[in-house]
């Protein structure tokens, strides 16, 4: 059994990177491996946007990530600075930055790049999408 950390740099819609990351994570978990957490960086932070609203016959990656996180107890972590630059805010970020709305789902926590690096150190393998 190995411990993985997954980094998602691809956006929630418009590229398949995030979908491939999701499938890879599901596969790793089904084989009995551990996933310490999923770290969303660069355009990957858009995956946490709770306002994502695709047509009913399309993949809803935002929902898929939150479902995977609750079913397998996997932590979803956004890079907070990457998220803020792109207008993805938690309730706390909205408060601190004097914004009227927030859009990140509660299942995604905001963290720093340090969480990615310590995650890499504690895992056997980092896989980026």
């Amino acid at each position: 059994m190995s411990k993985f950390i997954i980094q998602v740099n691809g956006t929630v819609y418009g590229s398949t990177a995030s979908f491939r990351a999701l499938r890879f994570t599901e596969s790793v978990l089904s084989l009995g491996h551990q996933v310490s957490h999923i770290f969303f960086y660069q355009q990957g932070v858009f995956n946490s946007n709770s306002l994502v609203c695709p047509a009913s016959d399309e993949h809803d990656l935002h929902r898929a990530w939150t479902k995977l996180a609750s079913e397998h107890n996997v932590k979803l972590v956004n890079c907070v600075s990457a998220a803020l630059r792109r207008g993805v805010l938690s309730a706390q970020d909205a408060l601190e930055n004097d914004k009227q709305q927030y859009n990140a789902s509660e299942q995604f926590t905001m963290g720093g790049l340090g969480e990615l690096v310590t995650g890499i150190e504690q895992s056997e393998r980092l896989v980026c999408f």
């Binding site: 980094q7 960086y41 660069q42 600075s81 990457a82 720093g112 790049l113 340090g114 990615l116 690096v117 310590t118 890499i120 150190e121 393998r125 980092l126 980026c128």
Partner: protein, 118 residues
Amino acid sequence: MKKICVIFRKSPIGNTSSREGLDFAMLSASFEQEVSIIFTDEAVLHLLPEQQPELVGSKDYLSTFKALSLYDIETVLVCRDSAVQFGITAKDFNFEAELASEKHIQTLIQQANEVVVY
């Protein structure tokens, strides 16, 4: 401690990928990881001096590359084939870096625990 190899592939102009890659590289180094850096493809353009990223709406993160040695990032390689394609020679370099053959780069990648591409 892990050996982390950060590969830059994209141009400094027109996207912000390298800026976030650089943040990752420096943060990793400050968390006591052994970080090495490779510039290849269009990313060799990072080495050119006198660029003004502000004119195209970017923050001037390019000058931060000069600080790599302060973060104990000693191995900074530039793909020789890519440099030739873009007409860049070592005397053009704006910060400390070494031209490297494909084989040299392959060896560095093989020695790394993790390879991250920006």
